[in-house]
């Protein structure tokens, strides 16, 4: 339901054409990360630590080196710590340490060595020939335990300036923000609820494992093919880790089989390049599913304390949250994001939030769709739901009463521009789902969600062909149909058919820098750049038309794909179609292209409201989701079908996180469920159809009003489902996932 009755000022934007890569993807010919090969190619494999925390005493690779099928073996000594670029520091150092362990293995699955051999089987077999001597150290995997005074120290000196004195060295970043007088706020309340919540780490669960093909020579020149959300960051990082110049490494992004934030950094790519440099042959590395779970970047786990005061009329008088996030053995857990997002949907006089970034012996966390926001929303929106229950207030009315709007001072500081939260709440209240009767055993939950969205560095180039068609080069890998959106936006400006525009994800050698496809930024930022690049080309088209007509360029305007004379000094000429201008462009001034490079700042924050019905089997604690509705502000939906897809996908991932997905570590610090059998993402039979409502409150920061839609959809589900389950079961669920044993135990405790 995309507000289809609204009169559109657009010709192409808002329509639903077939995606340009559709044919490739339904016939099996689309090339993903593992689908390529090169002459003389070797296969790489990586040896990983079986220990959660261990000092590496010695690595003996001599037997592997001697094996006839093995062409290269690398360890940390083969990377550019010092010899090439002394002083690798900050995040590059962290990534290197994560990609190949140095003095210590910091988590179960941490890479310690790698081989390249003539076949994948031979490479795997050769790993068994490498002997590693470990001194096993005490480990910690739980966030609260990692902050305790007696916790093993992951790494001394990892904390930054923000951490208050006296904290454990595993606390590496600290965030505090808010406004008003929080104690006065609680004193004003008729009811104050204080509660604690826990969420486990989850994985993005993209179906395509990491895969790459690297080629690097001793001349410092290389090529890399990989599945990634951002090949420029892969280029920059790999170059730094291998001690080569960034521009000498050309990186091509394959088709990407899902990322959701998890493919925004590198894991195997520097290893493949190091092996290739040593063997002087191309090396392909493909992760197994187990490696993906053990050694890529899951989310943080979290432990949170929330206190909210409310008046009898539903006004929130004070809100406070402490959010502790564990992000693995490196700094980076988004405790600050969790803190800033938790109360962001509300217009609060008194609010205070604290976030901790805590290290533990787990893999280095990576982004996962609105990183940090879903867990905070779970805790905050659960307490709001409980306040509504105890004060007998309607949960949407209460949220409407407190909702942020244009001009509201956000919980994290700035004042909002035009936002669409109220509109999503009103649409939720009006939706038939909200009025539908519930059956016995069912409960309904509601939650709002917030995410910042991001702009980021962006380059786009557009070139016209003689026949009047256009090729558009963007640098943000297409993770959900963005090539279709880009073509629609370009068509809108150029006035030529959608089908006449070919969109390519350019490699790093053919376009300027582009940030990663993350932060819900692609349709916003690459879209904005596409529009500007198309306008740039249109300006040139108008110049050529003006020259042909012999009139000033400011007397020519662009309409429906044609140059047309405009204004009193223009004269009377027939509209000149784009193809008539490009046909002889070689002789009228040369090729016509447009380009745009910038870091757009107006991404515009994003809000959504979800309604969910859940049914709980009181005898087994098993939950089924019986109905689900996503309502979210898209600003302007460029290709509404793919916007719906983002909403549905976010909701489905949220259902998995809420009910079944979790990282399970044993007492030995090893991950126990590193296969899809036991890391339980939703299957088709687990889910209902997922209804969507696209609210469109245009973003003033985008020419067509676009707000990114990729991430916000996973923010409300954890809380909405927890509220639905709690209301169905009659007992508040404070820990995710709400697996059947946890629900049954809660029911028993509740009598």
């Amino acid at each position: 339901m995309a507000l289809d009755d609204r009169k559109s000022e657009f010709s192409f934007v808002g329509t639903r054409p077939d995606r340009p890569d559709g044919l490739d993807k339904v016939t099996g010919r689309a090339k993903f990360g593992a689908d390529t090969s090169a002459p003389g190619m070797l296969h790489g494999a990586i040896l990983r630590s079986p220990h959660a925390h261990a000092r590496i005493i010695k690595i003996d690779t001599s037997k592997a080196d001697a094996h006839k099928d093995v062409k290269a073996v690398v360890t940390r000594a083969d990377f550019a710590d010092v010899p090439f670029k002394p002083g690798l520091e900050g995040e590059f150092w962290n990534v290197l340490e994560n990609v190949m362990a140095g003095d210590k293995a910091l988590y179960d699955g941490h890479a310690v060595a790698a081989v390249a051999a003539t076949s994948a089987l031979a490479a795997r077999d050769a790993l068994k020939l490498i002997e590693v001597e470990y001194e096993v150290l005490p480990h910690v995997t739980d966030v609260d335990k990692a902050m305790a005074p007696d916790a093993p120290v992951i790494r001394e000196g990892a904390a930054d300036y923000s951490v208050p004195e006296g904290m454990h060295p595993n606390v590496v970043r600290y965030h505090e923000s808010g406004h008003g007088d929080i104690e006065a706020g609680f004193a004003e309340a008729d009811l104050v609820i204080e509660d604690s919540f826990v969420t486990e780490a989850t994985h993005q669960g993209y179906i395509e494992p990491h895969a790459c093909l690297g080629m690097l020579g001793n001349d410092g020149k290389g090529e890399l093919w990989c599945t990634t959300q951002g090949h420029w960051i892969a280029q920059k990082t790999c170059a730094a880790l291998l001690g080569i110049e960034t521009s000498q490494l050309r990186v091509t992004a394959s088709e990407i089989g899902g990322g959701f934030g998890g493919k925004t950094t590198v894991f195997i790519e520097p290893v493949a390049l190091a092996l290739s440099r040593k063997a002087n042959r191309p090396v392909k590395v493909v992760m197994t599913r187990s490696e993906v779970f053990r050694a890529t970047g899951p989310t943080s786990s979290a432990s949170m304390d929330i206190k909210i005061g409310m008046k009898k009329d539903g006004t929130i008088t004070g809100a406070q949250g402490i959010f502790r996030l564990q992000g693995g053995a490196f700094p980076g857990a988004p405790g600050d994001m969790t803190a800033m997002c938790g109360f962001a949907p509300y217009n609060l006089t008194n609010v205070h939030q604290v976030g901790y970034d805590v290290m533990a012996n787990r893999p280095k966390q990576a982004a996962y769709r609105a990183p940090g926001a879903p867990m905070g929303a779970f805790a905050v929106e659960s307490v709001i739901d409980e306040l509504c229950n105890q004060l007998s207030l309607d949960p949407i009315d209460v949220r409407l009463k407190n909702a942020a709007y244009e001009g509201t001072k956000a919980s994290y500081g700035p004042r909002y521009e035009r936002i669409g939260l109220v509109e999503t709440l009103e649409a939720a209240k009006a939706h038939p789902h909200y009025a539908a009767p519930l059956k016995p055993g069912q409960g309904r939950g509601v939650s709002c969600g917030f995410w910042f969205n991001h702009g980021g560095e962006t380059s786009v180039s557009l070139a016209l062909s003689e026949d009047g068609s256009a090729q558009l080069m963007v640098g943000t890998p297409d993770i959900g149909g963005s090539r279709a959106s880009m073509a629609l936006m370009a068509a809108e400006v150029l006035g030529i058919p959608y089908e006449n525009i070919r969109v390519t994800i350019a490699d790093t050698a053919t376009l300027g820098y582009n940030d990663v496809s993350h932060g819900s930024r692609v349709t916003y930022a690459s879209g904005l750049a596409t529009i500007k690049a198309a306008h740039h080309a249109v300006d040139k088209l108008c110049e050529r038309a003006a020259a042909k007509w012999g009139i000033p360029v400011d007397a020519v305007k662009w309409e429906n794909g044609c140059a047309v004379p405009s204004g009193p000094n223009a004269g009377d000429f027939d509209p000149m179609p784009l193809a008539d201008i490009t046909a002889d462009m070689g002789s009228t001034g040369g090729p016509i292209s447009g380009h745009f490079e910038a870091t757009p700042e107006g991404a515009g924050v994003s809000f959504g409201t979800h309604i969910v019905d859940a049914e709980v089997d009181p005898e087994t604690g098993k939950t089924s989701i019986t109905r689900y509705t996503v309502i979210q502000d898209a600003g302007k939906a460029i290709h509404p079908t793919y916007v719906e897809g983002q909403y549905q996908g976010g909701a489905a991932q949220g259902i998995g996180w809420a009910l079944n997905e979790e990282y399970i570590y044993g007492d030995d610090g090893r991950l126990q469920n590193s296969i899809f059998l036991d890391y339980r993402i939703p299957v088709a039979s687990d889910l209902p159809m997922i209804d969507t409502v696209i609210v469109e409150v245009p973003n003033p920061g985008h020419p067509f009003g676009v707000r990114g839609v990729g991430e916000t959809g996973i923010v409300p589900p954890l809380a909405a489902i927890a509220n639905a389950v709690s209301n169905a079961a009659g007992v508040r669920m404070r820990q995710l996932p709400m697996s059947p044993p946890r629900i049954l135990a809660a029911l028993k405790d509740n009598g």
Binding site: R124, S290, E619, T620, G621, K622, S624, L659, N660, I664, Q672, N673, I675, F676, L677, D678, R680, P682, V683, S685, D686, S739, P740, P741, L744, A745, K748
Partner: protein, 288 residues
């Protein structure tokens, strides 16, 4: 790794008897290949028994009993209407294993010989009184299914022995069976608890019953006390409560990534009641 595809069970047995190191038989392969891939088990010898004549056959014998070839897949069992009419619990238990794709390969025999305490088809087979023929260097012997698994990943089969046929008893009159399992999702999971019930009625009264539990002990359990709780009853509320109590009492589970001791113990009773009701209705001739 050596790979063989013998033409007879005698040949398969001889190959296994003479092999050194780790030997695995390949029926559907849905467990063996996973173990091979993850390097949990690295067999030195793999013996593919699917090229032996008749291993896909599903045959109803003159006395009403059934003989299944060891490579008959879950999909082939589900598509066999007559088998499903006689033993819906056994067929459904097999059908619960894995996806449609896995059903295209997985077999009763493989599920049995994998030795998992959580195997779905095994409680159903134990409740149904299924036996298997074991071919070994000394010839054939017939063994109750319950006697094959001896612990997680372990079986009573000795070197050179291979299961060569599956025998399901004649259904007989006024009988019904059912199998239920608990999983957190709707599909694709390993059982957290499984319960098989097979019973026979005289009028409304249960005269025979076999109740088995999966995933609540190191091996599949055949629980006498559960049978006693419902034999002689019409499966009234008291009988169901006694059945649940007996099922929970028989549990000796572990806490693991799939479930807790408390959860498994409680849910074993819940599922026993639910499965018994289905089996009872089927024995009455109801189509459930």
């Amino acid at each position: 790794m050596d790979y063989h595809s013998p033409a007879s069970f005698a040949e398969a047995s001889a190959l296994a008897a003479n092999a050194t190191g780790i030997t695995r038989f390949l029926a559907g392969g849905t467990d063996v290949l996973v173990q091979l891939r993850s390097e949990l088990v690295a067999p030195d010898t793999l013996i593919d028994i699917k090229k032996i004549n008749g291993v896909h056959d599903i045959t109803r014998n003159a006395d009403g009993s059934w003989t299944l070839g060891v490579a008959a897949t879950g999909a082939e069992m589900s598509e066999h209407a007559e088998l499903g009419k006689d033993w819906p619990g056994v067929v459904e238990a097999m059908d619960l294993i894995g996806s449609t794709q896995v059903q295209g390969r997985a077999t009763l025999t493989g599920n049995l010989c994998n030795g998992s305490p959580a195997a779905d088809s095994v409680p159903a087979m134990v409740a149904a009184g299924v036996t298997v023929t074991v071919t070994g260097p000394d010839g054939d012997r017939v063994v109750p299914v319950a006697d094959i698994p001896t612990g997680p990943g372990k079986t009573s089969l000795t070197k050179g022995e291979v299961v060569s046929a599956v025998h399901i008893p004649a259904r007989g009159d006024n009988g019904g069976d059912a199998y239920l399992r608990f999983i957190p999702r709707t599909e694709m999971d390993i059982a957290v608890v499984g319960v098989g019930v097979n019973l026979r009625l005289d009028g409304d009264t249960i005269t025979e019953a076999r109740v088995s539990l999966g995933a609540v002990a190191p091996t599949i359990l055949l629980v006498e006390d559960c049978a006693k709780a419902i034999i002689g009853t019409t499966l009234d509320e008291d009988a169901l409560d006694a059945l649940a109590t007996a099922a929970s009492a028989a549990c000796n589970p572990i806490d693991d990534k799939r479930g807790t001791i408390a959860f498994r113990t409680e849910v074993a009773g819940v599922l026993a009641k639910r499965a018994a009701k289905i089996a009872y209705a089927r024995a009455k001739g109801e189509n459930v």
